[in-house]
Symmetry: C2
Subunit: 333 residues, 2 copies
């Protein structure tokens, strides 16, 4: 079992692998994933299926597999302890992988909005299920696509992890949104959405339920955020109709990104308020001031010592120019 350790200075949790890799195992990242040795395809038969979305013939279209032990282990009791002046816990939590398409070489965006909706349905169903466990404080959904984004197999897939802690990055967002709310008594995301609609030049796409745009100040050039237009802090409260719309928006936006940057490596992450802290009654506290959203980050620039050391980032393409490229591109052949 892996262990989780807490950086005493920054309060950041780090997963330490049970079996250390030796120096020789750190090969430079491959530019192109090796298709023959797909880890995902080989797991498909051995790991426990926790969700399967099938067509009328019973062929699985989207599957979610439990991958216990990869990062987190679900079959242990949560244990926290001190080691000298440091703090650690065991790696209690849930790791799941979402097989987004039935075939190794397909992607959901190539299959179209209906397939993308099935993937979103899987995220939604698993989030509801995982949040039932009282020990779980946060469910994170994310994707690595392309070797330079950390994806090592090339089969279109994404991850769901459920942890007994609220990740540092989410905490920072919650704190930031809370600070703004405390000052303005308005949701910062709703304000940003209105500001973007007024200004217009950073918007890529608007539908009935969503807005996709390149935010004012992001970590990566061509970074895209997708926000639901209806104020809600929880992804898990997304409606059926909204999921269908989001299927279209994600398909469209990812196709645009792939066309503009020539199939770049990218990550996306769903950000939602953690649901364990009751907050309906306390309007001002953590959560009602939050607004769930998706961040899509193309990985076309390496982080340097500047970013790692300062926590500042450099945008070599302005969000306005990036949005223009993304909006104007035609991805249909």
């Amino acid at each position: 079992m892996n262990e989780l350790r807490r950086d005493p200075l920054l309060g950041r949790w780090v997963v330490v692998f049970k079996e250390s890799l030796s120096p020789e195992e750190y090969v430079p990242p491959r530019e192109t994933p090796v298709k023959g040795s797909c880890v995902i395809c080989s797991q498909a038969d051995t790991e426990e299926e926790v969700l399967g979305i099938r067509d009328e013939q019973g062929t699985p279209l989207v599957r979610v597999l439990r991958t216990d032990g990869s990062i987190f282990s679900s079959d242990v009791q949560l244990e926290r302890r001190g080691v000298g002046m440091y703090d650690m816990m065991n790696s209690f939590g849930v790791s799941e992988v979402v097989l987004e398409t039935p075939e190794h070489n397909l992607t959901p965006e190539d299959m179209g909005p209906e397939q993308m909706k099935r993937v979103i349905d899987a995220y939604y169903t698993r989030t509801l299920e995982l949040e039932r466990d009282d020990r779980i404080r946060y469910v994170m959904i994310y994707k690595n696509c392309g070797a330079l984004s950390g994806d090592l197999c090339g089969h279109s897939h994404s991850f769901i992890t459920a942890t007994p802690i609220i990740p540092k990055r989410i905490k920072e967002e919650l704190d930031g949104a809370k600070g703004y709310y405390g000052y303005k008594e308005r949701c910062i995301f709703c304000d940003m959405m209105r500001e973007e609609q007024r200004y217009g030049k950073r918007i890529i796409l608007q539908t009935e339920h969503f807005i996709a745009y390149c935010p004012f100040a992001t970590r990566f050039p061509f970074e895209i955020w997708i926000l639901p237009r209806r104020h809600n802090c929880y992804f898990k409260e997304i409606t059926e109709e909204e999921r269908a719309d989001l299927g279209f928006v994600m398909t469209d936006v990812i196709k645009r990104l792939r066309r503009v940057l020539n199939d770049p490596p990218y990550n996306f992450v769903f950000h939602s308020a953690p649901s364990k802290i009751p907050r309906r009654a306390q309007w001002h506290t953590l959560g009602e001031d939050f607004h769930w959203h998706i961040e899509i980050m193309p990985r076309v620039r390496r982080l340097t010592g500047f970013e790692l050391g300062s926590g500042m980032y450099t945008l070599s393409t302005s969000p306005e120019d990036a949005a223009k490229f993304l909006k104007e591109v035609s991805y249909e052949d």
Copy 2:
């Protein structure tokens, strides 16, 4: 001139390039820097030299050049303003590059501790000089080595940037150290040093003035921190004798790292307390509770959606194992 924009949610500053790169310009990072077209060598004749350390014949051994406009520009007045709901400022600040060796193919660690000391002397002298400007609130020293660390030329060099803001990452460290100090009335770094000396297994090297070790919970596997044994929050108060010792420690540790991981890309960053906030009189406030240090981060693993989304990190080699490899390796041929 570039512009600086503030992420309203996280309070993170982002540098937006004046001239956007077009999508075609995002070529995948080269594995090996192109030697013929060295940006550093070509800058050596055109950019203003702000410091030169020369041998008795007048041959420059270490040079520091002002690279105005690359990220920051020193010849403008600091201006802050709002744009809609967002905040921005111009890119007032100082960008300098340190040419660490006279020849394109040399590194200071290959030249030995005396050359490394000259590089550190350059950092020291420039920090003292740059901090004289009242508008400057933080001086950051960092290095990118190897294409995958963000280094695009291959000539051994490092950077000094001086900014009118305290970078987010430094602020977080100061806050973390302050929180610990408030609770324990002890410096967290001094406590960590004692803990590491007691435990022993994460230490790579100890000298009269410094300790080099793999911390309990870091961002990257094989990450190394170098701490001065004498409590001091400011790098700029390092003595001549300590600089000589640090020259040896950095030479030794970087050689170990290069041997163990087969010349990995890496970054290092100096972390110091900002000196503009008077704090001698107020023992409890920002700064006296801090302890300057160096973080060396090998870049042998890509950050994935997990790290970018959660702010958590995965260590695929434990710090204890990493320290063992680094301690036991022999780098002399």
